[in-house]
Amino acid sequence: MKTIKCLVLGSAAGLFAISGARAADLPVKAKAVEYVRICSRYGAGFFYIPGTDTCIKLGGYLRADVTINGGVYDFPFYNGEGAIRDRYANFYTDRSRVALTVDTRTATEYGVVRTFGQAGFSFGPFNYTSSIGLAASVNPGATAGLVNNDTSDNGYVGVETVFLQFAGFTFGKSFSAFSSPWHGYPGNNTSFLIGGFDSVTGVNNVQYSWQFGNGVSATIGADDSSANAFNRTQIINAVGGAAGINGGVVTGGAGGNIGFSGAASAFVTGVGTAYGGSSVPDFVGNIRVDQAWGLFQISGAVHDNHAAYFNNANDVATTFNFGQNQAGAVNFGHPNDVYGGAVSAALQIKNIPTGAGDDIKMDASWSRGASKYTLGTSGADPSSFDILNGTRFAMGVVTDAIYSGISPNNGNPQTGLQLTNGWIPTGHRACSAASPGSAITRRPRHCTATPTLLTLVSPLRAAA
C-alpha cells in the first residue's frame, strides 16, 4: 500500500513539472482544432468528411443466431437432408455476422447525390444446406463468391447493397422497384417467409423515380435477370435427357427430371434447369402512396423466359451438358422466348390501437412465368419442396416454365414454353413493430406473422 501511494504521488508531481515547463518555454498560440463537424441536414448520425462538403454516416448491425430444426436464417426444412431427416442433416445451425454500412450525401445543384454500401461478414455452417453435404467435394456457393466457410478462420462476405443516387436515378445494386418497402420481412426474422418479393439485399439495376408530392411517387427500373436469387426459378425441359416426367415416369439423372431434393437445381449453374443466359432484363415499376396513415403500393414486372435448346438442360457447373451431348444442340433448335410477369399490391396501416408503433402489413402477388415474384425470399429458391415423413412424401416443383423437346428416347412431341402460374391469395401478415431500432420496449412484444399461402400451378400435368 505504501509503495502504491508513492508511485501515485510521484506521477502527479511529474506531470505537474512537465506542464509547468511547457508553460514557461512555449509561446502561447491558439491553434484551430479540427473537431468533427456535425451534419444535421440528413438526420442523425451524419458528419462532414473533414475538408469536404460531403456528409457521411457509418452504421450496421451485429447479429448472432441459431436455428433449431432448420437451416441458417430460420430456413424451414422444406427440402434437403433436413426434410428427409437423414443422418447427414444438421439439426441446428448457427451464424455470426457483422454488417457495415457507409452512407454519403452531398448537396449539389442537381440535388442530393447519395452513395450507399452495405456488406456483411458472416461465419456459419456450410452455405444454407444445413447438412454436411453429400456432395461435399463441391462448394455450391463458389459461384456466389462464397468460400468453404465451415472451417475455422474462414467465413464469407455478402455484398448486400451498393448504389448511387443522382437526380432521380439510382444505379447499382439496390431494392427492386417491384418490392414493397418491407420486402419479405413484415416483422419476421426468417428469410424464408414465402411471398412478398424480396430484394432486401439488392439486385443490379437502373431506376428512375418521380416524386409527385404528398407522399406519392412512381418508380421504373430494369433489374438484372441473370440469377435466380432475384427473379428466376427454373425452366424444365421435360425431355432433355433420357427421360423426364413424361409418360407418368419420374426418373432422375436426366435433364428435365423433377426429382427429389434438388435433382433439378436451386442454382442456375447447377444441374437440371434449362434456362439460358440473360437476354432481356426484368422491367419493373411501382406506384406508391406513403403517408401518415400508412402505405399503399401497386407494382408490376415483366420477365423473359429464355430457355436454352430443345435437346438439353443445363449443367453449366461441369460440362454444359446434362442428358444429351451438347455438341449438335443447335441442330435441334430452341423454344422461343415467352414473356411472363407479375403484379403485386401491398398495404400498410399504421397507428392501430394495439400500441404505439404497431402496424399491419399485407401484400398479395400473382405471377405467370415469373414464379420468383410470388415465392419471394432473399436467396435462391429451392428447385423443389420435398418433405418426407416416414414413407409419406410431399413434393412440389418450382418452375417458371416447362417445355418439351424432341427426344429420341421417348418420341414425345415438341412443345414451346408453357408458363407456370403462381398466386398468393392471402400473403398477409400483421405485426407489432417493436423491431430493433424502432422503439424501446422493455417487455417482450409479440409480432405475429399471419398465414401466407403460395399456390404454384404447373402447366405440366403428365397423365398417368
Partner: protein
C-alpha cells in the same frame, strides 16, 4: 439443397397422378425483448406446410442420391417446424 443427379423411383401410373403443382403455407410468431434501444433478443417459431398435387405411390427411393429406404412411398402432405433464437445490435 442440390445433390446432383441420381436416379429416381418408379412412378406407378395405374394409381398415380404426376402433377408437380403444389401449395406451401407458413405461419409463425416472433417475440422480441428490447432491454435497451437498438438491442433485441428474439425468438421465432415457424411452421411450414406443403400440400402436394402429386398423388399415388412411387416405388424404390425417390432419389438414389439420398440414403432413402428402397420401399414404396405414398404422396401426401407434410409440415415442418423450426425455432430461431437471435440477438441483434444495430448501430
Amino acid at each position: 439443397m442440390t445433390h446432383g443427379g441420381g436416379t429416381g423411383g418408379v412412378f406407378n401410373p395405374a394409381i398415380s397422378s404426376c402433377d408437380p403443382g403444389f401449395a406451401v403455407s407458413e405461419i409463425g410468431m416472433v417475440t422480441r425483448w428490447t432491454p435497451v434501444k437498438n438491442l433485441a433478443f428474439s425468438a421465432e417459431v415457424l411452421y411450414a406446410y406443403l400440400k402436394t398435387n402429386m398423388s399415388g405411390t412411387i416405388t424404390n427411393a425417390p432419389s438414389s442420391a439420398l440414403p432413402l429406404a428402397l420401399t414404396s412411398y405414398t404422396f401426401g402432405n407434410n409440415g415442418t417446424a423450426s425455432l430461431n433464437l437471435r440477438v441483434q445490435r444495430n448501430y
